[in-house]
Symmetry: D3
């Protein structure tokens, strides 16, 4: 069973609205290599796990638990980027202006039509998330390799998305996730090491220079690239795998640590021109 | 952030394998009105909520938290129904038999090809789950009405699926979910009552007789149709709405209670003819 | 604007339930070459028509109008095939039987789960109808050729579906539609003749022998393969094209005639085990 | 059977081309809550209706009939917005200009590639319409509640789309449809009133001020928000439900009236640079 | 079996980057009437061909073989249009610029996120290619008519896409393909002539003036509109059909000729800001 | 450019019709891990390759070339399994039998409706192939890892499908492909070895015993699991990578060899009850 404490896993850094950045950040939420896929893929692999080598299931489930918080972090970041991106509503005087005309020019129009300037389960091109993204092969090696590709491609795409806007809200979330994907690459690569593979210096993929992403540095200094947060309220065997030297060329030792202390969920303002939240008696 | 204790929200009752039942039960997992949709819809609505009337957000999020456990319960039920449904693998002697030939006749072949006799993010007709099932309108009334339709249709479909097999594993899970969907209907109907609606005796939909579903009775006797489980580790305002007389013609008072005590997650056996889990050194 | 008279365009011949036939007949409703596509394709082509050669638009729209009735006819036929295909509901005594277990074996389970034993906007394999089936090229020759392929393939597929069940409800509707598709092939082939093509003896496709389909004979004798029904309440120029010798090797002259006299819409019985119609006070 | 008179249900107000407005208006045509869905959803519910309480079927079918005209109205509006939005074709001199380069910048490129500057069965993000949008549950209460959500969300989205352009062609059609969706909300809310619900002052959703939409005012003054047009050529029992006091906080009495008098369908000019209509002998 | 020589079927003419042109050119690659569809449709029709009239199969397969090269040509053209469209990567100094911000404004963001500024199996609106585009009816006339519509619509759409950019890389490839689609129209039209059709002067569709497309002229002068390239390493009977007078109003005689001499495949530069190719030891 | 010789890459072993086997074998053709995906994925990766390390591109392209022949082999195998699976057509006497009624019971009905008892671009559950299966990341390590997962999962699924029928046509093709997927695993694993990875004894995945698949043995004895066929008509650098000791625990040395000698393409009989091929004058 799943329990919740109203805390975000990382801080939302304030900056100005940027609907174009919100549009491309949807890839990280609802894309083929986004957080919804990692969450659902590891969920299915955890529930469908066969056999008594529970340390592998605990590893997969441990990452799954964190991915739920990642989904919430990206949803909240997109909401922050969209907040206030449209002008005021058409006035009671019957004025002829079109407050959203400019906003939608480089935006996903569904951010304004379907959602009230908030996140959607779609990718950067507007395609809805699809169950066929999820692979739960039931063969441990296939599952681990697939997860490794998934995490590697996740960080590869985030390093590309990062270059699409210098908005601080946008980049801080990406930087946190890049470091965490790095840790998750380590998790699955390490699991394959226990089965006999020696990775040489293959990871992390891509072969990026942390200095390129100044927002990443503090997370690396906190050791987040070599740590796995523990969200279990009972025992877990994840430490049997996630321990010892990292499989990454970045070096260091792997360890299980407590989750971050948690950050406040921003209160989203009501948005009358989107009729949101639309509570009946707002005008009464 | 999300925390986990390795407990199922309800018991898995043992019975014989039934791949045809597993196929139709997929509707409850990955269908348009299945648990994956309720989970993701309430997740998006929670994160995208606008304004300071947090009691409504807490209500939606409270149901979301339970739905994660529902997804896990249905995944586990499907796995149980598939376990052992294929005969032994083709022998080393080069025998010519086809152990899965019979099993796939009324089954979803993907249960045996893509997953190793385990659950998939698809519906009863094999269509993958789609992000376009999720509605997060951002208008509170629209969201609540949509959720009410979703929960009503969920229980309507479960009452139809129930008639497709008398397998006990299958029916026990359906019965538990029928009662819980009933409670969730009450939750959203009650929220709309706070906005002025008087439902007459409209709910629950469909208008079923609990005596038709003998497995449901104990859950009704435990009051699960009028209760909301609390999975929050911090404060929640859900009780401001989920209280007082039920909006249902079944009568009774609504209350917030502790989650069920939790039930063990069955260990799924390895399945050599599906190469699952495929741990490299199993044969070494 | 569109007006309605509660009449089916052809008779529903009674026969016993046949959910397997209902499943394959869905191709004729929601398949890539089914009636929903012809209806929507000709609707878009009619509304998007450019230029003043209105006789072509009137031809396309005239066929569109008939296709709405075809959709209704196939929906009603599928409903008739599904009616009564499941046994009685699970009894109040808590009996353990599963009345739909047998019914779903060769059926589309969604016929029983999503709809209450009634038609769905999907094809014979359960794939939902998709807007990408519709082509409205805006180039008259491309549109006419596309429509010709569409009608030819429609009748080709119906001639294959016809061999999948000898149920009379099923075959009568197919036979009527085969003859009407023949007339619509003639319509688009004739329109291309006005642009200079001589078809030789190419049509109709496929090159079938009417004697193979005894149910077709009476419709051919009534001249339905060479006639276009007129559903317009105002003037139409369709007769400028649909006239003279048929482009088909079957011979005869084309003419515009009144629609059939109309046939009663069967009243579908309530279905308590599907909670349909579920009118609140049925049990009160 | 369905009959047609070549009249639009409302006027097309002339204004300049606006391909960006055409792109977002596609949501109203081919989106999840657009007119194609209302049309097909009510069509399936009408044909699949069970039982002898025909007044409910007549209500659903009555709205369906109007929706066919709504689809045609939105198609025609989109065509008007696209007309002339590209410059002249590349000249015979081999000039190097690219007349559509500017036009496609904020447009759906398919409006120019697939259709000849005309409407498509897609939404504002370019996703094709999908059969999985249609719900025909076969349980009357579920169907009515679903239809109520559908109509409420339809008008909610239109009120957001309205703010995306001040083009008069665009806004007039949206205003007419907002008022009509209001009437359809009333229809389904009233039907649920006959089953015992008291809506308080919940409807219409969203809670908009008619003064914000000056184009709406005349339709409200004509009483279109409390009227249902009758497109039946035979008897209908719709008046048994659609009568008496409106369920809306706007007040007034419901009544069945004749359809609007009808408005001319604009003749779309030929478009040589799109090779449309492409009639073979245009150049001969 | 299939053999390869590293040669493009036509020249890539250099010009400046143009990501907006790359976006719309995707229609020609992954759209409903693009080269991936022609390739796969003719592949399935070739393999599924029934009967001993092999000249028709050889014709369909002959066109299929060329389409593989067309796919490669369009992929390469898109890559050329994307090359260098983003600025340099974010510097090691932690500068705040966003080099892709401008590039994605009128681009498909997936060109930069999923692929490293290279081609994707999607259309101009970003929808992934779908197997339901492929028709292999198994009835020769239906297949030939469908192929004729496909080739006609292919060239129709290319003539529209041509007007969206004056980029030379873009237009040269389109011009070559327009002429080749013309030849393929002739191939299928001629095959239908052998079955008795006289096309009058219907083809080619659309009825364009070659002078509008100066890049086309040299290909017409080389006779490419009336020629079929032979990619077979063994005997083929294609010449039994593709011979004699063209069915096109452009006149001339059809003939089978050798493939073009072949053009070099451009070497794509590495793209460090996209981490491409990402060879591990590039930095070592 | 691509050249063709009419030879299959392996033998079609005759056996009786088996439409149920044809249905599940579709996974190998049009599934997420089927031959259409490997073909298209390696095609895009080849064309999109960046940089001058051409030995990697030649490797990917080399596998791509073979995959085209694999697609053709699976299409042909499915056709063979479907041939003759329906009884004779309905007789001219108007007999009432339904020759396809039995055939479709455990079949994909589209095999009989859309195709004339021949292959389709869909998977075992009838879902059409989708462009979102294809990954061309543009980062060499990501691409190679993804390809390794793809080939591993391909053989994993084939080893499961193998157990679904003992039909010899079915199993021979699967056995050949299992061995070839093994060789392709080796190809991508070896490429990653050149970048520093030591695989231990991880491959092949799954960890199967060749004795379980008697049809595989002869291909292993011919060394096909350690060989790469060369389909290039010009030079290739593939041998720089595909050489030396295999990365597989099966041992042996890798080598580039000539393609198989080629096997005849079976002539598919005409199928009058499917109106295939439907050559107009067949009956004249």
């Amino acid at each position: 069973m799943y329990f919740y404490k109203e805390d975000l896993i990382n801080l939302i850094v304030p900056d100005k609205p940027d609907p174009s950045a919100a549009k491309v950040l949807q890839e990280t939420l609802g894309g083929r290599f986004g957080e919804m896929r990692t969450m659902m893929q590891f969920f299915f692999q955890s529930s469908n796990f066969r056999g008594n080598q529970k340390q592998y299931r605990d590893l997969i489930r441990g990452v799954f638990l964190e991915e739920i918080s990642h989904v919430e972090l990206v949803q909240t970041t997109i909401n922050q980027l969209l907040n206030g991106s449209g002008e005021e509503a058409v006035g009671a005087e019957g004025s002829n202006d079109a407050p959203l005309e400019e906003a939608i020019k480089h935006a996903n129009p569904h951010h304004f039509i379907m959602a009230a300037q908030s996140s959607l389960p779609v990718d950067a091109a507007g395609n809805p998330w699809n169950g066929n993204y999820v692979y739960s092969h039931g063969n441990l090696i296939s599952d681990l390799l697939d997860n490794l590709v998934l995490e590697s491609t996740g960080v590869l795409q985030k390093s590309r998305i990062y270059e699409m806007s210098s908005n601080k809200t946008f980049r801080e979330t990406l930087a946190f996730l890049i470091v965490r994907d790095n840790a998750h690459q380590n998790a699955f690569a390490k699991a394959l090491e226990t089965l006999g593979v020696d990775w040489g210096k293959l990871f992390p993929v891509p072969n990026y220079d942390i200095n390129k992403y100044p927002e990443c540095r503090k997370y690396v200094e906190m050791g987040f690239h070599n740590a796995q947060f523990n969200f279990r309220l009972d025992e877990t065997r994840i430490g049997e795998i996630f321990q010892g030297t990292t499989p990454s060329r970045n070096g260091g030792d792997l360890s299980i640590i407590e989750p971050p202390k948690g950050y406040p969920v921003p209160e989203l303002p009501v948005m009358p021109n989107e009729h949101s939240p639309g509570l009946y008696d707002l005008n009464n």
